[in-house]
Amino acid sequence: MPTAEEYRGQVPAWCPGCGNFPILKTFKDAMVELGMEPHRYTIVSGIGQAAKFPHYTKGNTFNGLHGRALPVATGIRLVNTDMTVIVTTGDGDCYGEGGNHLMAAMRRNINVKLFVHDNQIYGLTKGQPSPTTGEGMVTKNVPFGVIAGQFNPLALAVALDCSFAARAFAGDMEHLKGMMKEAINHRGFSFVDILQPCVTFNKVNTFDWYRQRVYKLGPDHNAADRTAAFTRALEWGDRIPLGVIYRNERPTFEERFPALTGQPIVRQQAFQTARLEKTVNEFS
């Protein structure tokens, strides 16, 4: 069994008090509890403060381009179905730059675990609005307030029949750990939107702001009921639900992909010279 020490990475370059710290700590705890050794998973990330995450723990790592973590993760997962593939990303990276990939990944139901550190602001580029920034928020580049409507990632997930869609809060690590573990154990695409206060650039959505509003979904919520899930997904403002909002057990992309029924592709013999002659002769 691995210990927490085995997940220690580089010293984070985040601001003191950043909402990313509790997420990092919780991730390591979840991995220890799952007994998931670092070489058994690959963390894929893009660009942003959340995207630096893999360097601050241990694991196979592909830190790629802004918005493009999901396609890279999809490629990895398709050729190695033994590998657990985790994407750590932010609201700008995933909902803004990478929006098309998010839709495609949910529709495919590829077995990738998506953790979005949603701080409702751009941190790395110093405080511009993200898709989840509330209407009216004033930033340096939007001096008259955000005009575009706020993006609702969970409503999108329910609409696209995402097979696991949950919300967690960086300020409730025990609950967050539960969501992370459930997401990893779920068979199919798992999406967790993690409310993560940005202490430097988002003076509206603070730890206190979230604490006053979040509540945990109880047993009365049936996550398998898509209509009920949609109602919960639309909830925002005075009350913000945490927990598994929607889940279904539809088959994964990999299970339905004809070429992936046997050994993972990376363990198969690439060169099939013996077959070639027959294939070439099909052109006669």
Binding site: R40, K58, N60, T61, N63, V79, H101, Q268, Q272, T273
Partner: protein, 576 residues
């Protein structure tokens, strides 16, 4: 014997079916065949044609003159009548076209009526037409009948029999009524069936032969054929073929799959490649091998979606922010496409870089006959560190500094060692750094150490014709067949040679073949390019300092023909 058949009509009329069937029959009969196509960006209507050249010697380009025009609509007659050779004939169905031509070159074959009478359904009109063309050529029907059996077997014996009857009816009608047909495409002496392979198929086949395990792409002419072919082999070969949500995803998926340990490829056309550009740079920074098939068509923007151009050499050369090396190959024939795709895979994996296969719509849509591929020439080495070999390592650094600049490329998950890489500048372990010293060493590793080794892998250009030529005609990629046939024609009276580049970057060195000396000695050096600015000529100037004396460029989206190229070259030679 050198005969050209053109089938013209609207999209959706079955031009492709007639063309493909005839070409296959000729190839199986032992003829040398070359086919090319011209079509519009629409599914129905418009004007399209399919041209087949068959001969008893190798043919590798289209000619202007048409011997048999199969006109499926009036427009085909109007547009192509003037292309007929003195012995040329137009075969058409007066009932369908609702017009009758009385000239001696016209042959009215009632495709629809014969199909209904002999096949029982007008849908077999195209089979009648195919049989009729074979009748005009004086060819026997046995190979066509055999092909019908193969194609329609699944639809049952009745459909096979009906189509055979339709083919026979067309054939007999043509033999009986075409009294002026002087063609004699009789049996080839000691016939040996040939393969008939198209450009995109050859690239896809080359990928299969190179152990491709992952192909992701977004559909776009002229590269879609690669995806279609590989998808048909998905299960048999264990290849994952995935249609990505966009080209950005396509290249990033291929990079992910390659990082995970699979031989990976993507394919697109110029507009799609514009979206992939950041991915090219990502692959370079993370030193992830990827093969990219880039099919060129006229731009800018959507340009001519279904037509041809060699306009993206410089785009491929410079695509991607930052400075890094790459390979660029530009096959001129399906055989070159097959082997250069193999070379692209081998070198991409060996040096952990990107290798481009630069082709164009013209090459994509041409089909050539060949005896087969010499599979013994394939270069297939697994350069990855896997399984036990990886477990046995005492430690592992994904981007370790080495003499060659190439670090061990391990398969993540095969051992407890972690595989870490980053699009940020990174250290040997793959973690983000900011320091100048590491930066300098990484640039040296990725660029300066690898580049000379990469350049040594590149073959010199191919010289064909007079070894001491007065006139050198230079070109690259798909112009191979055209240049070669033009040189054949002109060499009857001139000292002329072709210098063809199929390996363009790193630009070939002169140590194995001093082509600069050859160009320097020539009285005329012409660069023939299917673009407006002479992209090879500019690359040559940049890399070698040599200025091509003349440029023959074509940028109307249509390929040269042997005749138009010879005419143009004659004009240039006259001025000498």
């Amino acid at each position: 014997m050198d005969t050209t058949i053109k089938i013209g009509g609207e999209a959706g009329q079955g031009i492709q079916t007639i063309g493909d069937t005839l070409a296959r029959v000729f190839a199986r009969s032992g003829y040398h065949v070359f086919t090319n196509q011209d079509y519009e960006s629409r599914i129905r209507g418009g004007h399209n044609f399919y041209q087949i050249r068959l001969a008893d010697r190798p043919v590798m380009a289209p000619r202007d003159g048409v011997d048999i025009l199969v006109a499926l609509d009036k427009e085909s007659i109007r547009l192509h009548q003037q292309e007929l050779t003195p012995r040329g004939h137009i075969i058409y169905d007066a009932d369908t076209l609702k017009e009758k031509h009385d000239g001696s070159g016209f042959l009215d074959v009632p495709f629809v009526r014969l199909a209904t009478e002999h096949g029982g359904n007008k849908i077999m009109a195209n089979t009648v037409a195919t049989g009729a063309v074979l009748g005009m050529l004086g060819m026997e029907l046995s190979i066509l009948l055999e092909l019908i059996e193969e194609v329609f077997r699944k639809k049952g014996a009745a459909v096979v029999a009906a189509n055979r009857n339709a083919a026979q009816a067309g054939h007999d009608h043509a033999v009986k009524t075409c009294l002026t047909c002087g063609f004699s495409a009789g049996p080839v002496e000691k016939p040996q069936p040939r393969l008939l392979v198209g450009g995109t198929e050859a690239i896809a086949l080359g990928a299969l032969a190179s152990g491709v395990q992952f192909y992701s792409a977004y559909p776009m002419t002229p590269s879609t054929g690669i995806m279609n072919y590989l998808a048909s082999k998905e299960k048999e070969y264990g290849v994952v073929v995935e249609q990505a949500e966009d080209e950005i995803a396509a290249i990033n998926m291929a990079i992910g799959a390659s990082f995970a340990g699979a031989r990976s490829m993507t394919g697109t056309s110029g507009g799609g490649f514009a979206l992939m550009v950041e991915g090219v740079s990502l692959a370079a920074m993370t030193e992830t091998p990827v093969v990219i098939a880039l099919g060129m068509r006229p731009g800018p923007a959507t340009g001519f979606p279904t037509r041809t151009e060699q306009g993206e050499l410089h785009m491929a050369l410079h695509a991607g922010h930052g400075e890094f090396p790459r390979f660029i190959f530009a096959p001129g024939t399906p055989e070159q496409a097959f082997f250069l795709t193999n070379k692209a895979f081998d070198l991409a994996e060996k040096y952990q870089v990107q290798a481009f296969i630069l082709f164009d719509t013209y090459l994509a849509d041409t089909q050539w006959t060949l005896r087969g591929f010499d599979l013994g020439r394939l270069r297939n080495t697994d350069y990855r560190v896997r399984g036990e070999a990886f477990q046995k390592l005492a430690s592992y650094k994904r981007h370790a500094f080495t003499e060659s600049g190439v670090s061990p490329l391990a398969v993540p998950g095969d051992a407890k060692h972690l595989v870490v890489t980053d699009s940020d500048e990174h250290d040997e372990d793959g973690h983000i750094v900011e320091d100048a010293e590491t930066r300098i060493k990484m640039v040296e590793k990725r660029l300066f150490r690898k580049f000379p080794l990469m350049q040594a892998e590149v073959a010199p250009p191919f010289l064909y014709g007079d070894p001491h030529p007065d006139i050198v005609v230079t070109g690259w990629g798909s112009l191979y067949g055209l240049l070669r046939e033009a040189v054949d024609e002109l060499s009857r009276s001139k000292s002329i040679a072709m210098l063809h580049f199929s390996e363009l970057f790193p630009f070939p060195a002169t140590d194995r073949f001093d082509y600069l000396e050859l160009l320097g000695r020539a009285r005329l050096s012409v660069c023939v390019e299917q673009n407006a600015t002479g992209q090879l000529a500019r690359l040559m100037k940049t890399e070698t300092g040599y200025d091509m004396r003349a440029l023959l460029s074509k940028y109307d989206g249509r390929p040269f023909t042997v005749d138009s190229l010879v005419e143009n070259l004659k004009g240039m030679i006259k001025k000498l």
